[in-house]
Amino acid sequence: MAIDKFISFESSAVPLAIENVDTDQIIPARFLKATTRDGFGENLFRDWRFDKNNEPIKDFVLNDDTYTGKILVAGKNFGSGSSREHAAWAVHDYGFKVVVSSFFADIFRGNSLNNGLLPVQVSEEFLVKVFAEIDKDPNAQFKVDLENQQFTIVATGESTGFEISSYKKECLLNGFDDIDYLISIKDKIEAFEEARA
């Protein structure tokens, strides 16, 4: 069961200049009652996006048409808190392919990679530049090049590398999935069990 292949792209970005965006903000617990993986994008950032009468909150960035694109840019420690993969599903289902931050919570990072959502970790200085660029031009373009592990501010040409294991990079580029891999090495796992017994 493959995931979608990750194809490098250029896009504008949506700025969320808040630190410690936790999983309960990304997808509140009361929306975790589904038993499928679909449709979580509808409730992405639910309580920041909609008021209690389900009316869009105008000054929240996802409700502001000025900002669009497949890249979400957020403050440090994005995705902290719960292990709910629903958070990665919600961000991806909404239409984002990449989240840029100066660091990610571990479990969220892993969950994202397992769903074809790429976490791009940049330095705090570079993150400031990215926010500044969007501030200057809401339509500013950014280039995500997974093969060469480069994230570029197109207008200025400024570029930064980002870390990803070569294994995970291959998985994303080819749409491979860890579960298929593990199933393919079941003999090895059985041998491991026998050796420990």
Partner: protein
């Protein structure tokens, strides 16, 4: 060079290493609940593979269950569907289930240790970040996502890079009224909510070693709240004594053999950590959080930091948080009014926590302005509370014991703190809306929660001891 406790357990569970990638890690114990597992069961069915080692997996519903009238069908249709789905999935795949109304049902991280499923040296995972709780027994335990739940169901393995290692040592004697919860809230306030990211933490030192198993579980439970992958404590006599005789633990001669092996599970003297932090227990006082992440905590007797104490880059987030909480920078914490008190959760819903609360409220009365929800972590905790007379003590003081589940910790069921209301909670997260949309959470120890329930406002529990 010597090995850390973490190295010893992790390395002995690596099935294989992938070049330039993660390790394939074998999992000894897999715990499952209703919220993060349905998509994983659906996944293996779609792939046409069975559960590889069903005997290593145990399931229970906890996140979604009501905490009153559990004998009746669950009213919320979506919750009911999810709980029913867990039952179906477990039946179909031969997984042990402690279902609703079973005498062993409860919060997954409370029942694991209680049944002796949690043992030193094991790798333990669950689709829940507070799986770190089980580290209290000297296990490597951490939360995983649903794709990984599917991996474990299908192959009993996950794929993860080996984290870095951190040791947090707390030496010295704890003062009166200072509990395990205060230790961990203090640590997180120093390390920050993201400061442990990328690390697996070993807690050490005389103050940690002096804790009961329940206290150790509270500390390890919240290691995720500083961003750490997990946290653990080397097993010792306290650990072995707790496990002895528990239903799913090794029995008789097997137990003695296991203990001999478990005694080797400690960090070698010459092992090196990537990061070491040392705290003095004497510096720790009763703690409470004032903001919207668990790192925003302070001594109850102190004030909320003033804006000048906050770094420029963090001012906007800090102000957003104060605005949400309805607090001002520099406010005194003691005396602030409170509406709700919640005692429960995988952090502090064990019998020792209920004993502490009952011991404190005995002969006192609940303040009229407080609505209190006291929720046992499991059916077994509930039964012990009944047998020990804790229920009567609570009722005389104006409290009522509810039925087990995650309850208001994450408010997936009906136990929601109303918008704008303040709750002093023994749970683990004070995120915006965590305990219900618009709810305002202040995390504290069971002792502090009990003192607040009696006084009706934030108070230093030591004043009433």
């Amino acid at each position: 060079m010597g090995k850390t406790l973490f190295d010893k357990i992790w390395d002995s569970h690596v099935v294989s290493e992938i070049e330039g990638g993660p390790s394939v890690v074998y999992i000894d114990r897999h715990l499952v609940h209703e919220v993060t597992s349905p998509q994983a069961f659906a996944g293996i069915e779609k792939r046409g593979v069975p559960v590889f080692r069903p005997q290593n997996t145990v399931a229970t519903p906890d996140h979604n269950v009501p905490t009153i009238d559990q004998h009746l069908p669950i009213k919320d249709a979506l919750s009911k569907f999810q709980v029913d789905k867990l039952t179906e999935n477990c039946e179909r795949h031969g997984v042990d289930l402690y279902g609703l109304n079973h005498p062993y049902q409860g919060i997954v991280h409370v029942i694991g240790p209680q049944l002796g499923l949690t043992q030193p040296g094991m790798t333990i995972v669950c689709g829940d970040s507070h799986t770190s709780t089980h580290g209290a027994f000297g296990a490597v335990a951490f939360g995983i996502g649903t794709s990984e739940v599917e991996m474990v169901l299908a192959t009993q393995c996950i794929m993860q890079p080996k984290p870095k290692k951190m040791r947090i040592t707390v030496d010295g004697e704890l003062g009166k009224g200072v509990t395990a919860k205060d230790i961990v809230l203090y640590i997180i306030s120093k390390v920050t909510a993201g400061g442990g990211t990328g690390y697996f933490v070993e807690f050490a030192g005389s103050a940690i070693r002096g804790l009961s198993m329940e206290g150790r579980m509270t500390v390890c439970n919240m290691s995720i709240e500083m961003g750490a992958r997990g946290g653990h404590i080397a097993p010792d006599e306290t650990t072995f004594e707790y496990i002895k005789g528990r239903e799913r633990a090794p029995q008789g001669e097997e137990f003695d053999k296991a203990v001999a092996k478990w005694k080797e599970l400690k960090t070698d003297d010459d092992a090196v950590f990537d990061k070491e932090i040392v705290f003095d227990a004497a510096d720790i006082e009763p703690m409470i959080t004032y903001g919207t992440n668990p790192g925003m905590g302070a001594k109850i007797v102190s004030n909320i930091p003033s804006l000048t104490d906050i770094e420029d880059s963090e001012k906007a987030s800090f102000e957003k948080s104060m605005n949400y909480m309805g607090f001002n920078a520099g406010d005194q914490l003691v005396g602030k009014p409170v509406d709700y008190v919640f005692v429960g959760s995988c952090t502090n819903g064990r019998i020792e926590d209920l004993r502490e609360v009952a011991g404190f409220v005995k002969g006192k009365k609940k303040a009229e302005n407080i609505t209190a929800w006291i929720v046992p972590g499991s059916k077994q905790v509930e039964k012990m509370a009944q047998d020990e007379g804790i229920v009567e003590v609570l009722e005389e003081a104006g409290f009522k014991l509810r039925q087990p589940g995650c309850s208001a910790c994450l408010a997936m069921n009906d136990d929601k703190i109303p918008e704008g209301k303040y709750a002093v909670s023994t749970s683990n997260r004070n995120f915006e809306g965590r305990q219900g949309p618009g709810s305002r959470t202040l995390l504290a120890s069971p002792l502090t929660a009990a003192a607040v329930a009696v006084s009706g406002k934030i108070i230093d529990p030591r004043e009433l001891l």
